[in-house]
Symmetry: C2
Subunit: 799 residues, 2 copies
């Protein structure tokens, strides 16, 4: 190609008349089946005149994008067969599910997974009926859809999913249709830059196909309404070689598409061959295709005097009101017959053999490609013994350590153990080092295929730490990587994980539905480490302080979500190991990166984390008796403040019996009937008593604890402190003070709630208030926390 | 400019030697003050040798981006003065706050708003000390920062904010620095397309400045590591005319920047003049600037043998450890002295007059521009009498109506009443018509400045309905529009509003802090309508079903957030009117778009909504006595199912006394101490009783009601039904059934909890189970809900 933008390949009409005819017939069959799914309950082959009772009473589904998706499918089939390619197909316009279902039905993969939907007239009837029908299948591509790893209901993530699938699959080509509606979303707009993170030597290829069909629900699309020159420059600017396939006449478009697709595959194979022979020196310009065809292509040009084909009116169900407009029934029949079903399907309703043989075979069929059911390919990670990375903790609180740095050592060796298998990656929006996981760079680099300078720090195309300043892209890559059967770990600033709230929703929903589909095999869990958390964003301030992702997560199905708040490094090691071994979950781990006191030896951490919740006997003085108060905590900073409060109480009220409970697995607080790891009521009552005050210091918003524990017997005695949306750039301890979760407030809370202290209460509270005043005066003067707070250490009662 | 990419303007050195000298001095002053804020507690002018005790003990803040931000500020000042421009400055790299604070201090706007920070040595000391210091100001641009409408802590939104500010401000130029880190985010990557929605006739201009300083926290940036050719094409593809300013020698860069900035302003003024004289026929190519300067520009080249300037190491605090490395104190002193402060500030520590006069005056100063404190400019909306749009409801349940269509009529006239003032816009991600707000198009168009075809539907550059398939962009535009003193309304599919969870967080935080800053004047509320909600996404399926945004919202400060669930059209009218009048809030309204029974006449709706919660006497039969059960509901579908359940109970158990409570304002459920609209405990107990079972049918996740009401006396009798993450493509009523919130399940819940029914319980429950079986069989057969369910109507007891 030269700078004038001439991109058409040499032979503009590579299909023989016979090949063209067959390809076109295959496409007509897919289109026919797409319409049938949207409209028909019965009479699938129109062997009798179409009547209203053959039509669904509720018409649901999207036609507009289906012909384009079907065109791409048919042409990919052709090249898969011709060149024995290994291809999966991601369709951003997931609303076009009728097309994908139709194609997997035509190629036979659908009936293999759903034997009741046979490849004959009865099966076709079942296929039509079940679509968007109670007890049937959803209206979008979904876990139920063979060959899909992408829902497509919420737009924006097809391209990042595609790249995630391509990483470490050197032979795989991921064809990815990006709708021009989807292309307006932010996540899609930046995902194009994923080409700077793809290694042509060891990764597969993504072939993006921008489907410009011009309209969204009610508007034209932006990219369909800029000049061809701007469009070309945009994608050249993104680093691609754009090829254009444009037209309205199917027979012409087939020829162009065949030529362009061949050329694109040539480009991909050329790039890979050069890179793999060691020839390549700079980032390749990967091909992409701009496919401009009419919205709702091949539907009636006009209905009721309004243009239909090529307008937004054909976006969903092109025309309805069949009950009230008998004309519309005839129109539907004419439209469906325009595909000449009798030429496509035989007497039994089977696709004619000369067409059926156009589909690839076995696992080469895109609906049967094992990469799209990643659990089939999943191998366990090789995991080093996590206890090897432990911090030695001779006494609780005796040493200080950085939890995530310790984790980084473990992750480094997880990475090292699996380098050969190439099935583990770590994602982070430019925060891996900041989050103290930098040890990973001892064994791998950061993935980077853009320009490099001599003094760059651990950048290489082969890197397995993926960093781009886009939480969306990190999350999308990881989802694609996991759903194709690999493992990963995502670390993120706690406040900014909300950027992917919605992506988390969709992934959790995908997993929930997948669990109910027998042929979907379990995949590795999505592991999210939230660090640089709310309590230690004292330097960044209010915008960086938000612990609400946990609240968001626990709204999803109990079978899917887990939330862990390990209080120190050794407990983080245990939790991380568990998460990396788990399947079909979203595991959220909250752990700080700053130096903090360490509480548990490795053995103690294992015991504690295995239970998920427990009494810390060494910090309690209620041995053998009922406590006067329960001090509970979850999260590293709340644990520290709780223990400091306990020591203050020991000092001032040595007779007060305090029980300390630490919660690692937040879901233990829920009743067992609500969550599989929930404590039984009996166990809960044993821990928290049935009538003593509970002062609970929690990492997140305090009401979350109430939401989890409101059914517990002693709930009315539960008093929770947590983040209450107060913060700014200030000292670490002041952050706790601003939210009343510091040691002094906790002591005051105890005083307020333990009746036996009455005569001492006023004195103790005044003392705590004095300490808070002293704190405030000191930080205003010096900008630092009081030395006795900074340097506070838990010492065992006898030490 | 021609295709070869030559973009340099004619005079490459427009600054006279004297002008250059002064501009450079001004820039040095801003740089000096930026460093001082990061490092110094005392000795601000270095009049005595720098010692460790002059340095802050905790070094916080970002230097890396500050010199670039300062350069742009100084050059904008120059052109504002020279051409009397009206400019506000948005800095995506909000971490560069030291630079913005320095410049507003230099121009005097800072001291006007914060009189204790005087323009002399004492004031400079205060300025330095307060930065990132307890009791001082945050480390990022924030509401505290004069001239800012943008936090900049969470990256991605500068450009959409900038366009939002420019809409309907024809004389305003919004200079917007986009960091090259931020440029990797999705929201930023698509916000570039905002130029297709800007009307050069009646909107102002945005001048984007991509600041390529090459590095993020620990990585290079993508856009700094692609070729100049790709970079140019990318922005040409986005529709801009890119100008490049690149260099390391400040004196050279000053000349280029001066020339390019003049040229860009020429372009803007030329485009506007042509458009406003009626000449223009096609979308203009607005200018943008690529500013490539070294990260941490002018800091030491190397520290401790490692390169500093021009690398990621200068991103935050360039070098620290001053307490342990005495060299570093000397290094800091040398570095600061390299700006020659004695030439910049006089004996009193004031900026020398020949430099001070380089700043614009009065409201032309970017720190004092009233557009950046939008409440100053805010005019009340002209609101038509909302009761004119009421549906006539002669009896509860007597008529059917579409709530959002009714709202659409009201919004149409709100739009019409304010067309002249041009201070109201409606945003939606391609969903305005789908959400039944299409009446708006009777009085305005959809904003669209890309290509138009003859048969396009209501597209024009002057349109005031803003639709792009990017929730991020819609939200960002609206935030920018509101913060500059205008009004707006955002309608969105309920499930996909989670896409902007994080943006909502940041806006709510901005409002919370703004309330505490005396000079920040109240702005119009952010009004979000969630429609196409969870219960009527039966056609789209599981991916479109998520009512969790409310959960997310209520984590923010009670003084900011409001959540309304109007049960019908008239109550929606009342609520919308209230929201449009409110200030400094985020109002979330959940309302369906499907035809539904109408319950309240306009008068009844006003009374009910004014209280926010109340007994529906007409649906209750507990007049004069204590009820046996309270049936509460919030949301349109739960209200319908509750009323249908009440009728079933009336029919089968006529003696059972049922009280029906409907909740419009969700925050009434919280205790008054927690939320300003919360009910007192006494009022709550009067409504909900202290000992009777409460069956609560809720729109969202059920536990949210527990989280709000757990402190209430009768909480242990509260049983909540809501969405429990079950759904697929099925019928509307089946969606309720899948989540146990349908009328039959609600009756069974009553049976389970009212002790007096014991002898009838088994019969009634079996009857309900039979009805559910019948339902299931019918939908599987027909795809539709039973006619008696579809057509169910509430009839008054005597009707």
């Amino acid at each position: 190609m030269d700078e004038t933008g001439k991109t058409e390949p040499a032979n503009p009409a590579p299909l023989s008349p016979e090949a063209l005819d067959q390809l076109h017939a295959y496409w007509r069959a897919a289109n026919y089946l797409s319409i049938g799914q949207i409209y028909l309950l019965d009479n699938p082959l129109l062997r009798e005149p179409l009547k209203l009772e053959h039509v669904k009473p509720r018409l649901l589904g999207h036609w507009g994008t289906a012909p384009g998706l079907n065109l791409v499918y048919a042409h990919l089939n052709r090249l898969i067969r011709a060149r024995d390619l290994n291809v999966i197909y991601i369709t951003g316009p997931g609303h076009g599910a009728p097309g994908i279902v139709a194609n997997t039905y035509l190629e036979g993969s659908y009936s293999e997974l759903y034997p009741s939907v046979t490849q004959d007239e009865e099966g076709m009837k079942a296929l039509f009926r079940q679509f968007s029908f109670p007890g049937g299948i959803p209206s979008h591509t979904a876990p139920e859809t063979p060959g899909s790893i992408h829902e497509g209901g919420e737009l924006g993530y097809s391209l990042s999913h595609a790249f995630g699938a391509a990483f470490d699959n050197p032979d795989l080509i991921v064809a990815c249709v990006v709708g021009d509606g989807e292309a307006e979303t932010g996540p899609a707009a930046t995902a194009w830059h994923s080409n700077k993170f793809l290694n042509p030597v060891t990764d597969g290829a993504v072939l993006p196909i921008l489907h410009l069909n011009g309209y969204k629900i009610a508007n034209p699309t932006v990219l369909a309404r800029i000049s061809r020159d701007e469009l070309r420059k945009l994608f050249q600017g993104y680093g691609y070689e754009p090829y254009f396939v444009e037209g309205e006449d199917p027979l012409v478009v087939h020829q162009t598409m065949a030529a362009v697709l061949s050329r694109a595959i040539d480009d991909i194979q050329g790039i890979q061959a050069r890179a793999r022979s060691g020839e390549r020196t700079q980032r390749p310009r990967w091909p992409m295709i701009v496919l401009r065809t009419p919205k709702g292509w091949t539907c009636p040009k006009e209905v009721d005097g309004l243009r239909l084909e090529g307008t937004w009116r054909s976006h969903q169900v092109p025309f309805a009101e069949l009950a009230t407009k008998p004309d519309h029934v005839r129109l539907l029949e004419q439209w469906m017959k325009s595909y000449r079903p009798e030429e496509l399907f035989d007497e039994q309703g089977r696709l004619r053999p000369e067409l059926a043989r156009l589909a690839p075979e076995g696992e080469r069929r895109m609906g049967a490609n094992p990469h799209a059911n990643g659990g089939l390919l999943l191998q366990d990670l090789r995991l080093p013994d996590y206890t090897r990375y432990r911090l030695e903790v001779p006494q609780p609180g005796a040493v200080s350590g950085e939890a995530t740095r310790t984790l980084g050592n473990f992750l480094r060796d997880v990475m090292a153990c699996n380098l050969e298998r190439r099935n583990f990656r770590v994602m982070g929006p430019d925060e891996t080092a900041s989050n103290r996981l930098g040890a990973l760079l001892e064994v791998t680099d950061r993935a980077w295929d853009a320009e490099r300078y001599d003094d760059d720090d651990h950048l290489s195309p082969a890197g397995r730490v993926m960093e781009i300043l886009s939480e969306h892209t990190c999350q999308g890559w990881l989802e694609g990587y996991l759903l194709t059967g690999r493992h990963g770990f995502f670390s993120c600033y706690e406040a900014f994980i909300h950027i992917v709230d919605s992506m988390f929703n969709q992934h959790a929903k995908w997993l929930k539905v997948s669990q109910e589909i027998p042929w979907r095999r379990p995949v590795a869990s999505l592991n999210i480490l939230l660090t640089s958390h709310v309590w230690r964003q004292d330097h960044n301030g209010f915008s960086h302080q938000d612990p609400g992702f946990i609240d968001h997560v626990v709204n999803k199905k109990a079978s899917i979500v887990r939330v862990y708040l390990p209080p120190d490094a050794n407990s983080l090691l245990y939790v991380a190991d568990q998460c990396l071994r788990s399947r079909n979950k979203v595991n959220v781990i909250v752990a700080g990166k700053q130096p903090s006191p360490q509480w548990l030896s490795m053995d103690a951490a294992i015991r504690h984390c295995r239970a998920g919740i427990g009494i810390w006997e060494w910090a309690s003085n209620d041995q053998g008796v009922e406590p006067d108060v329960v001090m509970a905590c979850a999260g590293d900073v709340p644990t520290l403040e709780t223990l400091a409060a306990v020591r203050l109480l020991n000092e001032h009220e040595p007779d007060l019996k305090v029980r300390v409970i630490n919660v690692v697995d937040l879901m233990t607080l829920q009743p067992r009937e609500e969550h599989p790891v929930g404590l039984s009521d009996k166990d809960f009552d044993t821990l928290f008593t049935t009538d003593k005050p509970i002062i609970f210091a929690f990492h997140g918003y305090p009401w979350l604890i109430h939401r989890l524990a409101y059914r517990r017997r002693n709930h009315h005695n539960l008093h929770v402190r947590g983040y209450k949306e107060e913060g700014t750039t200030t000292t670490p301890f002041d952050m706790a003070v601003l939210n009343d979760i510091d040691r002094f407030h906790l002591v005051m809370d105890v005083v307020d709630r333990v009746p036996g202290l009455m005569h001492r209460a006023a004195y103790l509270k005044q003392h705590m208030r004095d300490r808070l005043t002293e704190h405030r005066q000191y930080i205003i003067r010096t900008g630092q926390d009081l030395p006795e707070i900074r340097d506070w250490r838990w010492t065992s009662a006898d030490g």
